[in-house]
């Protein structure tokens, strides 16, 4: 093949991605514009009305922003006690052993399970359990969705954290041991502080995953368009309201859904950007 042609094709293929990405943003902005124009940008974000009575349509994103933030925060909270030990096990305690690589592989496998499967498991196993334990009468809700979401983000947080824990120089650990430190002290005073920003960034990326997760949340959150009163209440996340209503929506309602999508896109993009920047910084140390 001719060299010039080859370079042209390569450039064209590489440029296609940013062009598509730009197109997505453009489409989101133009389609969301009607909602923002009708309700006002801030009003749209802070209103908790979601009613599609004809002639008196009111759409506000606050219940869904709240739903997303609640599920994400809870998922993160539930995820830490599982992902951090896995990361320590793989990256420090049993570093380089067969057990560690088996555990790491199994954890990574969790990331490959389709979210619909998690949704089904949550719906048919966890939801009845929540009801049986009298935690909430309907079983579904923010808590149920968050628990499953937590399992889903464990592999993202754990495998990246483990990499950063592995990167802590042996010189430093041996230096600490040579002063008479116990393993627990070495982890607390040397491994965590040194790997800290890396571990933090892996959780930021896990948050990025949790924010946009749609299928599992839609199946488990209960799909009510109100601000969840407590963690056991039902609600909707930004992703789940779109998944629930996009098929039957048109006009202002569709525009409002797309506006929610745009906001979600922005939040996720910012979170991922922060995570990426932090990872870059952490690698230099």
């Amino acid at each position: 093949m001719n060299d010039k042609l080859y370079r042209f094709l390569l450039t064209a293929a590489a440029l296609a991605i940013p062009i598509v990405c730009g197109g997505v943003v453009y489409a989101l902005v133009t389609d969301a514009y009607a909602a923002f124009e009708h309700f006002g940008f801030l009003k749209f974000l802070t209103s908790s009305e979601w009613s599609y009575t004809e002639g008196a349509e009111q759409y506000g994103a606050l219940p869904f922003i709240t739903g997303t933030l609640m599920t994400t925060a809870l998922a993160l909270l539930f995820c830490i006690p599982f992902s951090l030990p896995v990361a320590l096990f793989v990256g420090e305690y049993f570093k380089g052993t067969k057990v560690a690589s088996v555990l790491a592989t199994v954890t990574d496998l969790l990331a490959g399970i389709p979210s619909i499967i998690y949704g089904l498991w949550g719906f048919y196993t966890l939801r009845p359990l929540i009801m049986a334990l009298n935690i909430s009468p309907q079983g579904s809700g923010v808590l149920t969705a968050s628990l499953v979401l937590a399992i889903m983000i464990v592999p993202y947080a754990a495998s990246l954290s483990a990499e950063f824990i592995k990167m802590v120089p042996n010189d430093l650990k041996e230096g600490a041991y040579s002063l008479g430190a116990t393993r627990a002290e070495v982890i607390r005073r040397v491994v965590f502080p040194v790997a800290g920003s890396g571990i933090f960034s892996s959780y930021i990326l896990a948050i990025g995953r949790a924010l946009g997760e749609t299928m599992t949340v839609t199946m488990l959150i209960g799909n009510t368009n109100n601000i969840p009163e407590s963690i056991t209440s039902t609600g909707n996340s930004m992703a789940s309201i779109i998944a629930n209503q996009f098929g039957e929506a048109d006009g202002l309602r569709l525009s409002s859904l797309i506006a929610i999508g745009l906001v979600l896109f922005l939040i996720t993009a910012i979170i991922n950007l922060i995570g990426k920047v932090m990872i870059k910084r952490a690698r230099i140390v």
């Binding site: 120089p169 010189d171 041991y177 040579s178 002063l179 008479g180 002290e185």
Partner: protein
């Protein structure tokens, strides 16, 4: 006259990484109190491995076996708690590695914080000053104690690491090629410092620099293929080695 108990004594010490290969073979040697003893030998002769056995570093790696005895003031450290041994036998490594998340001040005190020992503020200040003075770093860093230790030059970092080890008031200080990553001026500083330090602590130093061994140590060991070939007064060993292998190494025929 009662026999003097050596501060540190290797008795038939063996270290093996795998069942077949022994990195250190039946080394026996008594280290004299308040001396500098150099361990020399070509790369891979087991000198670092022997040194690391003395503060139980090998216990961090489950596949490494240490046999025989290593006596600290007559007590076998191989049957003691690693934590207790390491507080009494400090170690300085090849590459200076102050804790990057701690200030200079906190680095000196890291032995205490890592062991969960709390000190009063006055005691902390006194320890930091004493240790930094004994490594001749105090005047250089006294105004920047809250800066990170990693801002210092390589030689200063290594002196900080020595200060960190001295803070625990060890009986013995093990040094694993402490100047091999440093420039000649920083090396000279550290050597001078070691001469001072031997008054308060017994130093066992691994070095592949024959000049260094000759300059600073009063006793020398020569190791080859895991065996302790020769051990005696440094001056005698350099002028009149008894073993042919020592002679070959010291005259540069083997290295």
């Amino acid at each position: 006259m009662e026999p003097i108990i050596p501060i540190l004594e290797f008795k038939n010490t063996c270290v093996s990484y795998t069942k077949q290969t022994m990195a250190v073979k039946y080394v026996s040697a008594a280290i004299e109190r308040n001396t500098i003893t150099a361990i020399m030998g070509p790369s891979g002769c087991g000198k670092s491995t022997l040194l690391r056995a003395a503060n139980l570093m090998h216990e961090l790696y489950p596949n490494i076996r240490v046999d025989g005895e290593i006596l600290l003031n007559g007590e076998n450290i191989l049957s003691m708690e690693p934590i207790d041994v390491r507080r009494r036998i400090g170690m300085v490594f090849q590459r200076p590695a102050p804790f990057p998340t701690m200030s200079i001040y906190d680095n000196v005190l890291s032995g205490y914080t890592l062991n969960g020992i709390r000190l009063a503020k006055a005691e902390k200040d006194a320890t930091v000053e004493r240790c930094l003075r004994s490594v001749a770093l105090w005047d250089e860093v006294k105004d920047v104690l809250n800066k990170k230790g990693t801002f210092l030059s390589g030689g200063q970092q290594q002196r900080l690491c020595i200060a960190r080890a001295l803070a625990m008031k060890p009986d013995v200080l093990l040094m694993d090629e402490p100047t091999s990553a440093l420039d000649p001026i920083a090396t000279a500083h550290i050597e001078e410092l070691m001469q001072e330090l031997q008054r308060e602590v017994t130093i066992l130093i691994v070095t592949h620099n024959m000049g260094q061994a000759r300059r600073i140590s009063s006793k020398s060991m020569f190791m080859y293929l895991g065996e302790l070939v020769e051990y005696g007064d440094t001056a005698t060993m350099f002028s009149n080695p008894t073993d042919e292998r020592t002679r070959a190494y010291l005259t540069g025929k083997m290295g």
